[in-house]
Symmetry: C2
């Protein structure tokens, strides 16, 4: 009979909840990763309007064949209330972007926006422990990256955002997660820096600016940019010209997807270790 081969009655469901939803990339990418692990599973877009989040999402979670959700803008903070237990990153950042049904029927939540960055460095074989990291931009992605990098216990973190409240909050998160890390807040400079991370929107799309003032970069610097479009931002172009090693936003996205799929599978196997019960 006429049929497709990638979905059937036994397919396990995952979803991504957001508003808007048309721009998300998780359906095609997480589904690819789930199927790459040999699972009969699919991740579908779930467009939930802001007025409906509190009534719709808890009911979606009652579907017996739904095993996990990715949560995107504007629900990453609100979704905390849906988790029975939180991982270290979600607890530190005060937001989550993935919920997984555990074997006992409870839901675990965690935040992978920053862990994708750490994963991308790990895949390159580059350890952040004992390094000196400059992080520019502490919005949603940047504050999650600050927490995830702190969990790797770098020697020093120099952080900067135009909003002083964000600087204070991330400094406190870093101090809590890694008391041994030296935290500096202030406008970016490269003195003694091993790793430069841009989590600000500077350089996105047709923006030709750099997130810091520089004509060249030290060739030993490792340079990372969260921006996915374009893949080669002005900062990464300068880094390549300067002979620096480069880590891209796409690598972070791939790293995040790998970690979220691990999280989904481990929850099913009962092997997640949430640190905080809500």
């Amino acid at each position: 009979m006429d049929q497709v081969d990638y979905i059937n009655g036994q397919t396990r469901l995952y979803g991504i909840v957001g508003d808007p939803i048309v721009q998300v990339r998780s359906p095609e990418m997480v589904t690819h990763a789930l199927q790459g692990r040999g699972l009969n599973a699919i991740l579908v877009p779930l467009h939930v309007a802001r007025a409906d989040f509190a009534s719709v999402v808890p009911q979606l979670m009652q579907l017996h064949n739904l095993d996990g959700l990715v949560v995107t803008i504007p629900y990453k903070t609100q979704a905390l209330s849906l988790a029975h237990s939180l991982g270290l990153q979600a607890h530190a950042v005060g937001a989550l972007n993935a919920l997984a049904r555990r074997r006992d029927g409870t839901w675990a939540g965690d935040m992978f926006d920053g862990m994708g960055c750490v994963q991308a460095f790990a895949r390159r074989g580059f350890a952040l422990r004992d390094r000196s990291v400059l992080l520019i931009g502490l919005g949603g992605a940047g504050s999650a990256i600050a927490a995830a990098v702190a969990s790797e216990h770098p020697l020093r973190m120099h952080i900067w955002d135009l909003d002083p409240d964000r600087c204070r909050q991330s400094a406190a998160v870093i101090a809590r997660l890694s008391p041994s890390t030296q935290v500096h807040v202030g406008p970016p400079h490269l003195d003694g820096v091993d790793v430069l991370m841009n989590a600000s929107p500077v350089g996105m799309l047709k923006d030709a600016r750099l997130p810091l003032v520089a004509d060249a970069l030290p060739p030993g610097l490792v340079v990372f940019d969260t921006i996915v479009y374009p893949e080669q931002t002005p900062l990464l172009q300068l880094a390549r010209r300067s002979g620096c090693q480069v880590v891209t936003g796409r690598e972070m996205m791939q790293g995040q997807i790998a970690r979220i799929v691990d999280f989904f599978i481990q929850a099913q196997q009962g092997t997640t270790n949430p640190v905080v019960d809500r």
Copy 2:
């Protein structure tokens, strides 16, 4: 980047709601039909437990990118309460198996279990109008087939089920939908019959029985069986040996899928004509 090509953030969602759900065929078959119409759309299994139907399904229908539901056992009657308007078949049978979001945001419901049978005959170029039809079995599928065949205005319908209540109910439905059709209730015989339809479970899987007593069938008879497994039931084997034209349960299933996809698309276009507002 690593990704699949059949789902993304713009994909429109459809679902099939049932309990259990693993045995359903709509995900692979309706998805194939939706994509065959050029739509970026997918139908996913939605396993809703009986205790959750009333709380979960109305909230699912709030998803902005969900455009329709197929409803299966045990929810075909209960789902009537979710429709703002009903088609003729759903109204006649008192059950529905599809819900479609209309352009104005309301939901239309209709019952396609019987229309798939009529569609299968239409695809063979065989009109039921003015024919004499013997229908055996008046359960969920059989009662829907009785209503759908009646809407084609056959000359005569001879119906039979071991349950006398079912016989009375279907006879009343036929009389309402097609006052000109002669209705007979009683044990099956083939005198003057043009079309024999089996909607009883006799002959399913390894059941070697026939739904009526016969060593051979008149070669001019058209024989239809709702049973999908096996595709060649004992009744259809006898029919082929007797030189009869045969219509299979698989053809009904394909006919039903085509009609449901039409219903989904017409609702989006605002061209459905529900006859009853609830």
